[in-house]
Structure formats: structure tokens, C-alpha cells
């Protein structure tokens, strides 16, 4: 049995210089990322083992914060709400953005199509807090435009944000409205990249538009769907701004989400150590979901 000796290639001075220049270009953003993205994760991990109110030095308490996670009723409710929120927003915004993208790509290849794309994209560029404020006004039980429209159609007014059963779906609806445009643009780019010869062959073979969508477009868009679902899950698990502005977690605790309780534990209760423990757990949960999801998609491939 012969072995292949490992050959260590020596870098030429030119290659080394190019590598150094490349590293120099990357260095500023790499350093900033390390400072602002990576370091806080390690700091949070450290604080999660401490009792810390930011006014006095942190005190090491070992796993106490983690032990208390499992008995915290508020956190359980928040986790439950967050899962519901993810289950409402992710499928809805994924399916909606896909359908709109396919419709515009296939049936509106004209200036109206580009106008539609722009209109659907507008919510993406509007600030989240501004969106939440406007939707709060639109949701008003008395005088809100949505209820006025419902009254005009002969329906009774709906208490969108003040009733437990309606509050979370109402907040999720705003997230869907805001996120669909972004994902639609990604899907649209994907649909435009579907090879025209494949589509034409399907048309020649007599495939209907639904069959073309189901057997050609959808499978080709699978990597994009994977990315959109991943981004959607990560974003939805971190929902904070909409809840803070629209409901303040209420009524009761019906719109408490994990990110919102991290905020309340840290800044209202001044329990930064405990909040860090919850944040680290949220990070682990998101990583786990991402891993399971990527395995699922890989298996399907």
C-alpha cells in the first residue's frame, strides 16, 4: 500500500502579499463584528451565571439562573406565545411572498408588475415603530379604519388588541404585512432564474400552470425557501419592537414573547443575569431549530 506524501505548498511572495491585502480589507469589518456581535454573546454567557443589576458588580451564582428558568410561569407563557407567533407568521409570510412573486413573474411582466413589486416592498422600508403606531390607530375598536370598514360591511367592531384571543394574531398580521415584501423580492429573483427551457419544455408537454408551479418552480426554489423559512423563524423568535409598541405584552400576558420578557427581566426587573440566561437559552433553541431544519432539508435533497 502506497501512501501519498503530503505536499505543503509554499506561498509565493505575491500570493502572500495578496492574502495580506485581502485580510487587511476584511479586518475592519471583522474586528467590528467581533466587538459588536460576538463579544456580547460571550459577555451574556458570563452574566448568565451571575446576579447583576448593572449598578453593582456581578456576583457569581453558578447555575441558579438556569435552574429558575424551568419554574418561571411568565417565561413559559412567553415561550408558548412565541411558538404560536412563529407558527402564524412564518408559514403565512412564506406562502404569501411565494405566491405573489410567482404571480408577478408569470403574469405581470410589464410596468404594472414592477409597480406592484414596489408597492409590496414599501412596508419593508418603513420603520417598525412607525408601522406599529399606524397599525395601532388602524386597529382602534372605535374609529379605527379597519373597524369602520367592518361596520360598513355590516359586521360588528372587533377589539383587535384588547382581547386575549385577538391580540397575538393582530400583532402577527403586522409582521406578515411587513415581512412579505422582503421575501417576495428574494423569491422573485429565484423565479426569474428558473431556466426558460425547462418551463418551455413543460408547456410543450402540456403541463398546466399549477403543475409547472408544483413540479418545476417549487423544487427549484427549495434552497430559497429554506433560507426564507430560516430567516423567518429566527426573526419571529426575536420579535420585540412590535409587541413593545402595540400591546406592551398585554392584555394580561397574552402577547409576552421571549424577546419581550428578556427585556422586562433585564431592564424593568433589573435582573440582567437572569435575562442573560434566558437569552442564551433562546440562542440555543434557535440553533437547534436551525440544525433540525437544515437536516430535514438535506435529507429531502
Amino acid at each position: 500500500m502506497s501512501t501519498v506524501p503530503s505536499v505543503k505548498r509554499k506561498m509565493s511572495p505575491r500570493t502572500r502579499r495578496q492574502a495580506l491585502i485581502g485580510a487587511g480589507y476584511i479586518a475592519p469589518s471583522f474586528i467590528l463584528m467581533m466587538i459588536f456581535n460576538v463579544t456580547p454573546i460571550f459577555l451574556s454567557a458570563y452574566f448568565s451565571f451571575t446576579k447583576y443589576n448593572m449598578a453593582s458588580p456581578p456576583v457569581w451564582i453558578g447555575l441558579d439562573n438556569y435552574a429558575r428558568l424551568f419554574t418561571n410561569r411568565v417565561l413559559t407563557e412567553a415561550l408558548n406565545n412565541t411558538v404560536w407567533y412563529v407558527l402564524i407568521t412564518v408559514p403565512a409570510q412564506t406562502v404569501l411572498s411565494l405566491l405573489i412573486a410567482v404571480f408577478i413573474a408569470e403574469h405581470m411582466k410589464n410596468r404594472y408588475g414592477s409597480f406592484m413589486r414596489s408597492v409590496i416592498f414599501i412596508p419593508v422600508i418603513v420603520s417598525l415603530i412607525a408601522s406599529a403606531t399606524v397599525w395601532n390607530i388602524m386597529y382602534q375598536p372605535k374609529g379605527g379604519i379597519i373597524n369602520q370598514f367592518l361596520n360598513f360591511l355590516g359586521f360588528e367592531s372587533v377589539n383587535f388588541l384588547g382581547k386575549k384571543a385577538n391580540a397575538l394574531p393582530s400583532v402577527a398580521a403586522v409582521a406578515i404585512w411587513k415581512g412579505t415584501g422582503y421575501y417576495m423580492v428574494i423569491y422573485y429573483a429565484g423565479v426569474m432564474n428558473v431556466p426558460s427551457d425547462v418551463r418551455e419544455a413543460a408547456i410543450v408537454d402540456g403541463a398546466s400552470s399549477i403543475q409547472r408551479f408544483w413540479y418545476i418552480t417549487l423544487p427549484i426554489l427549495k434552497p430559497i425557501t429554506y433560507m426564507i423559512v430560516t430567516l423567518g423563524i429566527i426573526g419571529s423568535f426575536q420579535v420585540f419592537d412590535l409587541v413593545y409598541k402595540m400591546t406592551g405584552g398585554g392584555p394580561g400576558r397574552s402577547t409576552y414573547t421571549v424577546a419581550y420578557v428578556i427585556y422586562t427581566f433585564a431592564f424593568q426587573d433589573k435582573n440582567y443575569g437572569y435575562a442573560s440566561a434566558v437569552a442564551i437559552c433562546l440562542l440555543i433553541v434557535i440553533l437547534l431549530i436551525h440544525t433540525v431544519q437544515s437536516l430535514f432539508f438535506k435529507e429531502k435533497d
Binding site: G162, G252, R253, T264, K270
Partner: protein, 412 residues
């Protein structure tokens, strides 16, 4: 051409450096005050900017007044005072945590005895570890009830129904006979403090409740707490509270529009009600199982401990003295918001009906106490009471859950 351009650019650079150096000499003071103007009068920003214009000239400084929202105010100032770029002078709501964390400057060594004596509530203010007073407390006034005499007359109610049960019956009668709403409270407010100040603590005092135990810890899991919550629950069960009230000002707007029979609000609202030609009258409070009870509270002004690190301490105390002076507060009370006087030299006097009612009930006015994690406690209690209104919790569970959360999460 290039030379001219380069020379001009160099000059511009030089000038900007010179102006920067000049600005360096000028101290900048940051003042945080919450919004008090909710009417048509002068805005808070314009009022305070006007107050500080001569101060800036006299002290060669720049005063940046930032008007903050009441939402999460306590959280905002706590984190702001921890920060090196936070406020120098700050309006304080719940002071316990700020004092405990050492975030406020001791004021005794900066003020003269005469200045300290001039503050009406100086002696009641908390002290730091060195025994120095850290805030200048002010009387927030007693929150009073208002009733619409025309609506009561239309429902055939001759006298104000002050007993708890009589009040609930009167509310039902008003709704049946007039078709108008009877009584609403701001349980939809996003701040627990706002809701509790008007819609919980007064009833708790009327039921004989005491906020703190012998060790100074909050303790509401008692008979008075239970009676209070059972009383509040009746408003929801009897269809008196309106679940569509999702924001703080809605009940007041309804009263101002003549659509509501009773409301509890701050004294300033009387002006609006009169302007809207509402035939209204004050009531001191309802009468619970133990007696009458209305709440008052003390907000305050303080100086950040970080102001000393920034070398702004003397200037900040000077600004604090200006803000709390009789002359400025008199103007504030007449132009922006109606409150009891702050200092002995204030010329401002209370409205007669208010003075008469509070004078007749001095023993029934309770101060909402300060305790550790008060803002968080109140937010948690509010959320649990909302859940009780929605049928998810019983009154006893509200008390148990709130106190358990307080013990596990809030108390350090």
C-alpha cells in the same frame, strides 16, 4: 483654481476646529423631564427651553432639555443614570432603586439651609448611605373623582353613591336608564404605575390595606388585597368596565364628551370638563369596608451622581434649584400642569373645592410608598389583574402570582 479650493478647505477646517475648541469651553447640561402637557397650551419643550434661555446666558452653558414619554419612564431613567452620557438633572418617579444603586447625587452639601427649608417636603425625601438627601420631593396632589351631575339626574340618582356596593348598583342603573357608560378605569394603560395609581391603590386603602410590612417590604397578599380585587372583578363581571378601553386617556376623553358618568383623574382635567360644558362635581373617594381612601404620591427632581464625574455637579444643582423655584413652578402650574406647590415661597394656590375636600379628609389621604422594584411590581400586578378581568385568574391567584413573581424575580 485648485489652490484656491485647497486654501478655502483649509480655512474651513481651521474655523471648524476653532469653533469646536470654543464649544469645548462651554459646559453642556442634560435635563430629562417627562411630558406633562397633554392639552393645547405651551409645549413642555418650549416651556423648559424658555426657562433655561437666561440660565444658559448667565452660566455660559448649553442646557439640553429632553422631554420623555411616561411609557417605561422608570426603566429609561435607571439605564440613563447608569450611562456616562445620561442626564445631569432628572425628574424621578420611583426613587427607591435609584437611591439604593447610588445613582443620585447627595444634595445637602450643595444647598444652603435656607434653600432646603424652602422645600415643603424636603424632610420626607430619602437619604443615601452618607445620610444626604438625594431628591427634592414634590406633592403630586390627590387624584379625585369626577361625576357628571346630568347623567346621574337622568338615571334618577340624587346623591353620589359612595359605598362600594351602592356605587356598583348606581353604575348598573345608569347604564340601564341612560344607555351611557357609567364608570371606566385605565386598565388598558401600558404602564402598570399609571393604572394602579388611580385604579388600585385608592380601593386598597379604602379596604384598610397597608402597602409595606414591618420590614419595609411590599405586602398586599392580605384581606384588604383580596377585597379590593373582588370589588374590581365585579366591575368586569357586571359589564361596567369596557374592554375596548385600550389606552390611558380614553376614559377621560369619554367623560369630557359627556358619555361617561364617573371618572377618576388628576385635577387638571376639571378645566377640560368645564371647557366642554360638562356639569361636573368632584368626589373625594368611594367608601370601602374600612372607610374613605385617596392616594397621593411624591415625584421629585434629582441630580445624577455621574454629573460629578463630568464636572457638572454644581451647575446641575443650580439648574435643579431653578426648576424647583417658586417662580418657575408657579408658571409651570399655571401654564402647563396643575399641581400643589413645591416650595414655601410659591404663590400658587389650590382650587377651592379641592382644598375643601382634601381638608375635610386629611386622615383619608394615603401616600403611595416607595419600595424595591416598585415599577416592575406594579406592571406585574396590572398584568395579573387584566388576566383576572379576562377570567384567567381568580382574585386570590392574582395576589399569589404577583407576590411569587416579586419574590423570585424582582426583589434582589
Amino acid at each position: 483654481m485648485k489652490r484656491i479650493l485647497a486654501t478655502l478647505l483649509a480655512c474651513a477646517l481651521l474655523l471648524s476646529c476653532m469653533s469646536f475648541a470654543a464649544a469645548e469651553d462651554k459646559k453642556t447640561l442634560t435635563v430629562w423631564i417627562p411630558q406633562y402637557q397633554f392639552g393645547d397650551g405651551i409645549s413642555d419643550q418650549d416651556f423648559w427651553d424658555g426657562v433655561f434661555d437666561p440660565f444658559e446666558e448667565e452660566n455660559n452653558c448649553e442646557v439640553k432639555v429632553e422631554i420623555l414619554s411616561w411609557t417605561d419612564y422608570n426603566t429609561t431613567i435607571y439605564t440613563g443614570l447608569l450611562n456616562n452620557d445620561g442626564p445631569d438633572v432628572v425628574y424621578v418617579t420611583d426613587n427607591y432603586d435609584l437611591v439604593k444603586a447610588g445613582l443620585l447625587l447627595g444634595l445637602d452639601s450643595y444647598l444652603t439651609q435656607e434653600q432646603m427649608d424652602n422645600y415643603l417636603l424636603w424632610a420626607l425625601g430619602p437619604v443615601n448611605a452618607n445620610g444626604e438627601h438625594v431628591i427634592v420631593p414634590m406633592d403630586d396632589g390627590v387624584a379625585m373623582g369626577f361625576y357628571n351631575k346630568d347623567i346621574l339626574a337622568a338615571a334618577g340618582i340624587d346623591t353620589f353613591p359612595e359605598d362600594w356596593d351602592a356605587f356598583i348598583e348606581a353604575c348598573k342603573t345608569i347604564q340601564e336608564k341612560t344607555g351611557k357608560q357609567s364608570f371606566l378605569q385605565n386598565w388598558g394603560a401600558t404602564s402598570g404605575t399609571s393604572a394602579l395609581m388611580l385604579a388600585f391603590w385608592p380601593y386598597y386603602f379604602q379596604a384598610g390595606g397597608v402597602m409595606l410590612d414591618a420590614d419595609g417590604n411590599i405586602a398586599i397578599n392580605n384581606e384588604a388585597g383580596l377585597k379590593t380585587l373582588e370589588f374590581l372583578k365585579k366591575f368586569a363581571d357586571e359589564g361596567i368596565f369596557d374592554e375596548t378601553i385600550v389606552s390611558e386617556g380614553e376614559s377621560i376623553d369619554k367623560f369630557a364628551a359627556g358619555e361617561l358618568a364617573f371618572v377618576v383623574a388628576d385635577l387638571n382635567k376639571g378645566k377640560t370638563f368645564t371647557k366642554n360644558e360638562i356639569n361636573w362635581e368632584y368626589f373625594f373617594s368611594l367608601k370601602g369596608p374600612v372607610g374613605y381612601g385617596a392616594r397621593t404620591a411624591t415625584d421629585s427632581f434629582g441630580v445624577s451622581a455621574k454629573a460629578k464625574e463630568r464636572g457638572n455637579d454644581e451647575l446641575a444643582v443650580k439648574a435643579l434649584v431653578l426648576i424647583t423655584s417658586g417662580a418657575v413652578m408657579d408658571r409651570f402650574h399655571s401654564e402647563v400642569f396643575y399641581l400643589p406647590p413645591f416650595t414655601k415661597d410659591a404663590a400658587y394656590t389650590q382650587n377651592e373645592a379641592y382644598t375643601a375636600l382634601t381638608g375635610a379628609h386629611t386622615a383619608d389621604i394615603y401616600v403611595v410608598s416607595e419600595f424595591e422594584g416598585k415599577a416592575s411590581f406594579e406592571k406585574e400586578l396590572q398584568a395579573n389583574i387584566q388576566m383576572m378581568f379576562m377570567g384567567d385568574l381568580t382574585p386570590q391567584e392574582v395576589l399569589d402570582n404577583t407576590m411569587q413573581y416579586y419574590a423570585e424575580q424582582i426583589k434582589q
